[in-house]
């Protein structure tokens, strides 16, 4: 296992080429709408819109399914839990096994919540799987004027993540060599986990200090406003994405309202 956040799509795909800030705004618009709406139709329409966008993302379907499987599993669990443990079982009773009773009303409510989770998860994966972290940092700095201390600092830290995985493995082996391992004892396991985590943290802080010194030695802390080697711009296509996302959201809400099922903040 290595932790990298490199994009997993064809870099020339239309969605992959959209300015990361525009993409971020679109993901935020869709997710927020899905989380605010509490009926089942609005998130269903949004999910349909997201799935329609998948072919333009350049993500292979297998990869997308792999990334989404846990999130959808979580959404399924949300449906089940909300249906079973609903405060009141309303509507026609579908299942009646004594303590386990599920009515259509609760099932519909549970499905609505599950769909909302699905929409937020799918939108997030579509956004982040098609975005290179470097491009995101550039766009945040150039379009939103985010401070470089923050964006580049985060990028540099991201680069060190894979090292942590390797180091975790090394520390674990080194401790087994010293006669220290969790075995089947849960208390010992937790304590060992905590102490390994501590050792990892100490190493990470030391490394971060060295990296910060190296960055400053190359003038990162000079007060001069930095220039940008890679340009991120808002092109017409990016403005279209930025404008289209709220429109799609509004359309989903309108259709749902026209069908008389729209509810919100529930």
């Amino acid at each position: 296992m290595t932790l990298t956040l490199a994009p997993v799509c064809d870099a020339q795909a239309p969605i992959a080429r959209v300015n990361p800030v525009a993409k971020l705004a679109a993901v935020a618009a869709v997710s927020t709408t899905a989380l605010i709406a509490s009926d089942w139709l609005t998130p269903l329409l949004l999910l349909a819109a997201l799935l329609a966008a998948v072919p333009f993302s350049g993500i292979r379907l297998g990869e997308l399914a792999r990334r989404l499987r846990w999130l959808w599993f979580a959404a399924g669990t949300v449906v089940a839990v909300n249906a079973v443990f609903a405060a009141e079982q309303t509507g026609r009773i579908l299942i009646d096994l004594g303590p386990l009773t599920i009515g259509t009303g609760a099932l519909l409510d549970g499905t609505a919540i599950g769909l909302r989770v699905c929409v937020a998860a799918t939108a997030g994966v579509l956004g982040f799987a098609t975005t290179d972290p470097t491009d995101l940092a550039d766009a945040l700095t150039q379009q939103l004027r985010a401070p470089a201390r923050f964006t580049l600092g985060a990028l540099a830290a991201l680069r060190l993540l894979p090292l942590l995985t390797a180091e975790w493995r090394q520390i674990t082996s080194a401790r087994r060599a010293r006669g220290l391992e969790g075995g089947w004892n849960p208390v010992r396991r937790v304590r060992l986990f905590a102490s390994t985590m501590f050792a990892l943290l100490v190493g990470a802080i030391r490394r971060a200090g060295r990296l910060a010194a190296a960055m400053d030695a190359r003038g990162f802390d000079s007060e001069i406003p930095r220039t940008h080697a890679r340009e991120q711009r808002m092109r017409p296509a990016d403005w279209i994405v930025l404008g289209a996302a709220p429109l799609v959201c509004a359309a989903a809400v309108a259709v749902s309202a026209a069908c008389g099922v729209f509810t919100a903040f529930n």
């Binding site: 990298t4 680069r159 080194a174 401790r175 006669g179």
Partner: protein, 479 residues
Amino acid sequence: MIPVEFRGFAWRHAGRRAQAVSGVDLRVEPGERVLLLGPSGSGKSTLLAALAGLLTEDSGEQDGDVLIDGKPALEQRDRVGILFQDPETQLVMARSGDDVAFGLENQAMPRDRIWPRVHEALEAVGFPYGVDRATHALSGGEQQRLALAGVLARRPDLILLDEPTANLDPEGAQDVREALRAALADTQATLIVVEHRVAEILDLVDRVIALGPGGALIAEGPAEAVLAEHGEHLAAQGVWVPGVPLPTRPAANAGDAALRGESLTLVHTGSDAPALEDVSFELRQGELLAVTGPNGSGKSTLALLAGGLVKPTRGHATVPGEPRPLHRLPARRLATRVGSVFQDPEHQFVTATVKDELAFGPRQAGWPKDRIEARVAELLERLRLAPLANANPHTLSGGEARRLSVAGALAAAPGVLLLDEPTFGQDRRTWGELVDLTADIRDEGTALLAVTHDRDYAAALAGRELVLGKGRLAEEHRR
């Protein structure tokens, strides 16, 4: 081309009582190339950090002046470039070209001028890939060359190199030295290098400055003269002076088998090529078996599998008198059979004092109290750690930490000791100590296996050598 001067310079790191350096008076002429020599603790790295403008007011207390071209170093940062020893913590960006551009962006260079500079710098260091190459996919030597390109791209008037090859394997170090040689031929910049391995860097410098503890000047002048006059003394202080012979400790005859590896194979999940494939060997009492080979040849994997620390995909390692393969032994029992010493000693420290560190293994193994005490006392004495018995292991010097990690692995009296790069990055004095220490352990009948890049270490101690290549046993020979 700019002059550099220390005038009565002293520095105390915040939170420390003693000064790292004091009373330093040095001058380096414009365009001069100087090698700074001295034992650990002579403050070489502090002097370089001062020149790089990294000793800011909030990080400690300064006396005297550090002047670059007549102005305080803190104001001249834009004219100075520094290369550190650890490549991993110098690279900032995910793509190689972006990383070189990083320092230029900080100088507010317009975009259309940045990229020609980036290409020029990458070419100067012989960087073999394009600008889009992922920095995490580079070897240590390649990363260090990229970091050098990042320094050169800013066209500094003063270049500082802080042990630029100390963290690299021999091939990587060679590549970096060649890149340095080529790059320095193209620049007029003043150069100051700190390096223990003197022989490899001598042809790059005009003058040597040798420092003692606290930054006191021991000698200076042309390299030949300084080394001829002070060579023995500097070698004793830990400098790798060329021509001063190294000790060897040949072994007596090896005894019975102490550890057997059979068809050891490891395939990482998600990888096609095995990290190690079908390696069998026998390790005998009273011998040191060296395991050598280029980076990525599976040396460290072999040590992990032989030490029972990682479950092999196929094959197993066993010791006589133990029916189960080592990877299936409970850890506390394993520690009484095979000791493993890792490259980074700090990974192995699990207690708060040196004494507890030594008592840990025996305690885990369930030894009686008086036996543990006797063992700890013996190890403290033998490894010259007695004055540090109550110190925190994380505060030890490099050499002390390494001795402690060996002692900790030996504490529960295993018959086999496995060492991963025991001499990596050590100065000559620590190196000599480690040779003597491992030779003594070996001569008491312990079986030793050492994974190493260090030809001198293998030559001094090893009776046999296993050479690995691409995860397989390439050859096995007696020395």
